[in-house]
């Protein structure tokens, strides 16, 4: 128990390290100056600038729409994929499909971006919203599969057998037994896909044309030109947004856990 304080000190040190840049960034969004040095006194001006910047607002809306749409489609395809993998009985096929599923998870962003660029050009898909959307769906699918599969494995065969014995059709088993059971996994997958999409820069940078920008690409372009405290204000807004998302995700997981606990309690395990 003597070491307790020292260990906490180290943890606190790491957390300070992790959060200093973020608070530095957000802190200067309130500075009256125009660079990230020497705090010049408090102002909301940069936030006002941000909300008056219609181009930026448009990009934020586009980015959110893209994230929502791509994660929705990725969740549907990914869940179907997980169901398919789960039902595959031959281990050789199962393992092959699983390792193929993981290729995009471990591939560096530049490889995904570059290969998709070749792919879209070969198929003559115009670079813009469509190519970015397809790419985001593509790199979000594997994480959905990985989130849903463990839930399917947890499900007990006896439940499905019982449902079939009681006369339910395949569709009924799917909608009444399987889907409710794996919903927490699907939600986690959706959340992860959503953040993947919001977070992505490299892949979008490769496959977007001139017409469509996401937030990350826009920030990159502006950061290369130098510091503008409007970006700091934007990061303040995004920090709040991330905080809300994390809290949302936390509650989903908590919900899943209490459900699990209840379930276990019911079985007197």
């Amino acid at each position: 128990m003597k070491k307790w304080k020292w260990s906490n000190l180290y943890l606190i040190f790491v957390f300070i390290l992790l959060y200093v840049p973020i608070f530095y960034l957000v802190g200067y969004s309130f500075s009256a100056g125009d660079s990230m040095s020497n705090f010049h006194g408090f102002t909301w001006q940069h936030y006002l600038d941000l909300f008056a910047d219609t181009r930026m607002i448009q990009i934020v809306v586009d980015t959110l729409l893209l994230a929502l749409l791509s994660s929705l489609i990725a969740t549907i395809v990914g869940t179907m994929g997980a169901l398919a993998i789960h039902r595959t009985s031959r281990p050789v096929i199962k393992n092959t499909v699983l390792s193929m599923n993981n290729i995009l998870m471990v591939s560096p962003d530049v490889i995904i971006g570059a290969s998709f660029l070749i792919f879209f050009t070969a198929l003559k898909v115009p670079l813009g919203f469509l190519s970015v959307l397809l790419s985001h769906i593509a790199f979000s699918i594997p994480i959905v599969v990985l989130m849903v599969l463990p839930k399917l494995k947890e499900m007990r065969q006896s439940m499905l057998d019982a449902a079939r014995d009681l006369g339910s059709t395949t569709t009924q088993v799917l909608t009444h037994i399987i889907m409710p059971f794996i919903t927490p996994g699907i939600l986690s997958g959706f959340f992860m896909a959503f953040t993947y999409s919001l977070d992505d820069f490299a892949v979008t940078f490769f496959v977007t044309g001139n017409g469509f920008q996401t937030l990350a690409v826009e920030i990159y372009a502006r950061a290369r030109q130098g510091i503008s405290l409007e970006i700091n204000a934007l990061s303040g807004v995004m920090f709040i947004f991330a905080l809300l998302l994390v809290i949302g995700y936390y509650f989903i997981q908590q919900g899943a856990q209490t459900r699990k606990a209840k379930h276990k309690g019911g079985e007197t395990l």
Binding site: Y10, A84, D109, S235
Partner: protein
């Protein structure tokens, strides 16, 4: 088996995705690497890669940088994950570790442009001790630091999961049998949490080879990684063949790392 038809139906969209977005792009990048800038089939890209010293040197440099970044993050992350495991309210702490990963990477890089600039936070701090303003931005040091900063959560999480899986009984047993703290750590805890470390190394090393936006924004084009070279060839010089060749090298490097850090299936395992 009646369900085989529905199973096939589930496989259709997912299989399409596998074919179109996993298999086809990899094949296309390999195919593209055999074409020169004017579209003729050639092996010259590979010849250039292996013969001109610059590409080989760049690859080695990139690997060395990735290695340093991985080592730095590992050194910081392992104790953090370990202490986190024994901390009170660890779910909350964990959440706080995850939160920074939800802030866009570009914004974090942008923050460091401010922190490291001539009149930024770090130089302001150093000025208090009378140390003249130092150049931080656009140095190797700043690139490694920022890359490590960004990768730390991705290292902590797998190691933390590995430690969570560790059976506390083994640690207690080792203590009871008279092992010293350090011995328990090196002989029991570290070997049993190695899978988490490997997963973390995998999660950090591979992206570190390709962080082109950081080399541009923080490294000031002084640091060139494999990722920077690919971006340069694809989006600036439009020499897709050469870019693909480097891409193939990166893919091979990726498989090599996955093979080295891969989880070897232990038969039986513990109950």
């Amino acid at each position: 088996m009646k369900k085989s038809t529905t199973n096939a139906a589930f496989y259709v969209p997912y299989g399409l995705w596998l074919a179109l977005f996993v298999v086809a792009p990899v094949l296309l990048i390999i195919y593209q690497s055999f074409f020169d800038i004017s579209g003729h089939f050639t092996l010259s890209n590979y010849a250039t890669y292996f013969q001109s010293g610059t590409y080989i040197l760049m690859t080695i440099n990139s690997v060395v940088y990735a290695f340093i970044i991985t080592a730095v993050t590992l050194l910081i992350s392992y104790p953090t994950a370990y202490l986190l495991h024994y901390a009170k309210h660890k779910q909350l702490w964990l959440l706080l570790i995850i939160l920074p990963t939800w802030i866009n990477l570009l914004l974090k890089a942008y923050a460091f442009i401010g922190i490291f600039s001539q009149d930024g936070g770090v130089n302001g701090f150093l000025a208090m001790f009378g140390i003249a303003p130092k150049q931080f931005l656009f140095t190797d040091f700043s690139f490694i630091l920022v890359a490590s900063y960004i990768e730390i959560p991705f290292m902590i999480l797998p190691i933390f999961n590995g430690i969570e899986e560790l059976d506390q009984g083994y640690v207690n047993a080792s203590r009871d049998l008279g092992a010293k703290g350090w011995q328990t750590f090196t002989r029991v805890i570290l070997p049993l949490t190695m899978s988490g470390v490997k997963a973390g190394v995998q999660a950090v090393f591979i992206p570190s080879l390709s962080l082109f936006m950081l080399t541009r924004l923080i490294g000031g084009n002084r640091v060139i990684t494999l990722g920077t070279a690919i971006e340069e060839h694809f989006l600036v010089t439009m020499n897709w063949g050469m870019g693909s060749t480097i891409g193939v090298v990166l893919i091979i490097a990726m498989f090599l790392i996955m093979f080295l850090t891969g989880e070897r299936k232990r038969k039986g395992g513990r109950a």
